[in-house]
Symmetry: C2
Subunit: 233 residues, 2 copies
DNA sequence: CGCCTGAACGCATAATGATTTGTTCAGTTG
DNA sequence: CAACTGAACAAATCATTATGCGTTCAGGCG
């Protein structure tokens, strides 16, 4: 218990190691447009994350050893622990950048506020599906790692869902303001939407299904949703 | 290859053993109100199924041995194979009676045609959820066995889904006839409903969730569905 | 000849031991 | 003193052996 020396803000992933408590943790008051992971990282920590990312993508989490990451960075294994509390925390940083990219893409998808709310909502939900599908199909290693991590560190999944639900709610509010949607409780409805498109955000299922068929099914669901909230004249 | 002797209709589960082909198999032209499994079973086969059922429920599939089942029935292991082609086929018969019970319960739930179609649809979907939830929570061994079998013998799952979708479509048609629903393509809409309630029929997910919270979420989804198809005046 | 037995076969699962790997920390370096 | 090393330890993982189990089939019985 002698070395209390850590670089300023060591990896920003200071959660409990294996406990089960759910203390809120940092709230990050700085608006929700900033990236949620990998920001303000020490250069050394960044190089570790980069090396780990390459190996994770090629060989997967379990086949990547701390010794290999250390060798890639020309440092000792012990030194890795000055920047990340554990191997799992490196994976967490990796997954956070993945999710961060997703959110960025989704924001770009719905950026054009001039488009009708129905169009933007459909685009958002289809793009969410497409991102999940591609992550699952084209980068299986990344997918496996993220789903394992998200099931073990639930708070990340919860936060991510909260953000996605916020995007949906954003469009819903726009639609209500524009007079094309009629919704009592936007937050509750956004939650219902999450349930309804669950099938298209749970890759464990669409193993052998075709993208086209699922996308068409999703369109049918969106049709129902839009019909339910369309203003009646 | 000398013994071509089998009791008439040996277990009615004559599918291929481990091939991958998907030939239609028997069509069962006799209406869909009859039980789909465990009918017309030899008394001996029935006693085997009964003994196996008890052990499956108590100890699960893998911890139940053919030797035990044979001992329970006071016969040799070899003789079991005169009534069921394999252990998995005994499990199939077991699962079919489970699903059969489900369908019977669901039919009873929506039997009262005098009730409004909205009420019957909600009852059907909530009851479907409740049955899945209970099977998952109160009889974990039965649940595990059925999900493993349904993923291996897909045609059973497919047929079961077809029946459930048929029940939904039945109510939808009634609602349209009564003038309370407005639906273009009933079959397509029933399929969309299946997607939307997917979350509530996929027990792998509601591991730690509460029944009440999920049931409330399902109610919200049903509200959206009903709002989408309500006739407008 | 129809119905059934139980020993025998080969595969899957479990148990055992050997090796690797995540993590720690006393100590080195500059 | 901050940055880092590398040997040491416990726990996980892997290869290998041993055991159990589903399945078959040549034969017995009534």
């Amino acid at each position: 218990m002698s070395n209390g020396d850590r670089p300023a803000n060591a990896a920003g992933v200071g959660e409990q190691k294996s406990g089960v408590d759910e203390s809120g943790g940092k709230e990050s008051e700085d608006g929700n447009k900033l990236p949620l992971g990998a920001d303000a990282l020490d250069p050394t920590a960044l190089s570790i994350l980069e090396a780990a990312t390459q190996r994770f993508l090629h060989y997967g989490y379990s086949k990547t050893t701390m010794a290999e990451i250390a060798r890639d960075c020309s440092m000792s294994t012990g030194n890795l622990y000055r920047y990340f509390p554990s191997k799992m925390d490196i994976a967490e940083a990796f997954v956070k950048t993945l999710l961060d990219d997703h959110v960025t893409t989704l924001r770009a998808t719905i950026a054009d506020g001039a488009l009708p709310a129905e169009v933007r909502l459909r685009a958002l939900l289809q793009e969410t599906f497409r991102l999940n599908y591609n992550r699952f199909h084209d980068r299986p290693k990344a997918f496996q790692l993220s789903s394992e991590l998200l099931s073990e560190r639930r708070h990340i999944a919860v936060e991510w869902e909260r953000i996605e639900e916020g995007l949906v709610a954003e469009i819903l509010v726009d639609g209500v303001k524009a007079g094309v949607f009629e919704i009592d409780d936007v937050a509750a409805f956004a939650n219902a939407v999450k349930s309804m498109v669950f099938r298209f955000t749970t890759p464990a299922i669409f193993l052998d299904d075709e993208f086209q068929a699922l996308s068409a099914d999703l369109d049918a669901v969106i049709d129902v949703i839009l019909r339910a909230i369309a203003t009646r004249d």
